[in-house]
């Protein structure tokens, strides 16, 4: 039987996160949204979101909020991923495989440069 981590471990993670926040400047906060309707899930959206979360863990990316949304009506483009850098700045990407998701995270979320290859207009 493997030991389940205690909530104290989570408290430690929280304290470390607060320390790191003090040390680094706030980058403004980016929101990454993954389409997780029936259409998205059937097209592989869970693996796409996993790739986003893994990227955040592997590269210790701060100030990114990852959320899900339901079907937005363009099912043929699923899995869909959106990157919102501010209220009015939202870029939509279509047919986002886990590999493409990692590229978008690197180029757009970390580098601030839209990843044109999979950008779609809605």
């Amino acid at each position: 039987m493997n030991a389940i981590k205690s909530l104290d471990d989570l408290k430690k993670i929280r304290e470390q996160a607060i320390e790191k926040r003090k040390a680094t400047a706030n980058s403004g906060g980016v929101q990454v949204i993954v389409g997780m309707g029936t259409c998205g899930i059937a097209a592989g959206a869970r693996e796409t979101m996993k790739a986003v979360l893994d990227f955040i863990e592997e590269n210790t990316v701060k100030n990114v909020v990852v959320t899900q949304t339901g079907c937005i009506g363009i099912c043929e483009q699923e899995p869909i991923l959106q990157v919102a850098t501010s209220e009015n700045e939202k870029t939509t990407y279509g047919k986002v495989s886990p590999e493409i998701a990692a590229k978008i995270m690197k180029s757009h979320v970390l580098g601030g440069k839209v990843y044109e290859d999979h950008r779609i207009q809605i």
């Binding site: 030991a3 389940i4 909530l7 929280r14 909020v65």
Partner: protein, 182 residues
């Protein structure tokens, strides 16, 4: 859908659309009775009896983006193909509960699949919802409540590096410890 956990990820969304702030997911593997039971319950707006009775029809949906809804019909068809069923109980203003059963040993029953990713993503993707997950086998019971995690984290988001892995590992270990090897 290739996994039951993908169906769960899918129908959990319905509770969010219904305005729920608490959603519970129960999985019971009962080998003695040869049943696999999944229950997803929310405290959202619920449906009246008339709507609940017809919601498994793919052409019944309250959504405006499309006129077809496939989440529940897909899950229902999968269960019925395995000597099982999908039943919806709903009360207007109180919430909805979806009860799905499979014959555990049925050859067509898809695997439970990656439950830890499904739950991690629901907890992180919908942080405003309190997610309660209970997994039961003949061996024991595992329980995790995102409310406890959030109350410790305070203003630190669930998508913080470190926290993502913590949640996923927590669920993976908890399930792995009591899972019956298929």
């Amino acid at each position: 859908m290739k996994e039951i956990s993908l169906h769960i990820l899918d129908i959990a969304e319905n509770g969010i659309t219904a305005g729920a702030d608490r959603i519970s997911i129960n999985i019971v593997e009962n080998i003695k009775k040869d049943r696999l039971t999944i229950k997803v319950s929310d405290n959202g707006c619920g449906m009246d009896g008339k709507t609940a009775a017809v919601i498994s029809d793919p052409f019944v949906t309250t959504r405006k983006t499309r006129r077809v809804g496939l989440g529940i019909p897909f899950f229902k068809a999968a269960a019925e193909a395995c000597d099982g069923f999908l039943k919806i109980t709903s009360a207007k203003g109180k919430g909805t509960s979806i009860h799905v059963e499979f014959q555990h040993s049925h050859i067509d029953r898809m695997p439970l699949g990656n439950i830890e990713d499904t739950l991690t993503q629901l907890m992180i993707g919908y942080p405003e919802i309190d997610w309660l997950f209970i997994y039961k086998t003949g061996n024991d019971q595992f329980e995790i409540d995102s409310k406890d995690i959030k109350s410790i984290l305070g203003n630190i988001p669930l998508s913080e590096p470190g926290v993502i892995n913590y949640i996923r590992e927590q669920i993976r270990t908890g399930i792995g410890n009591i899972r019956i090897t298929e």
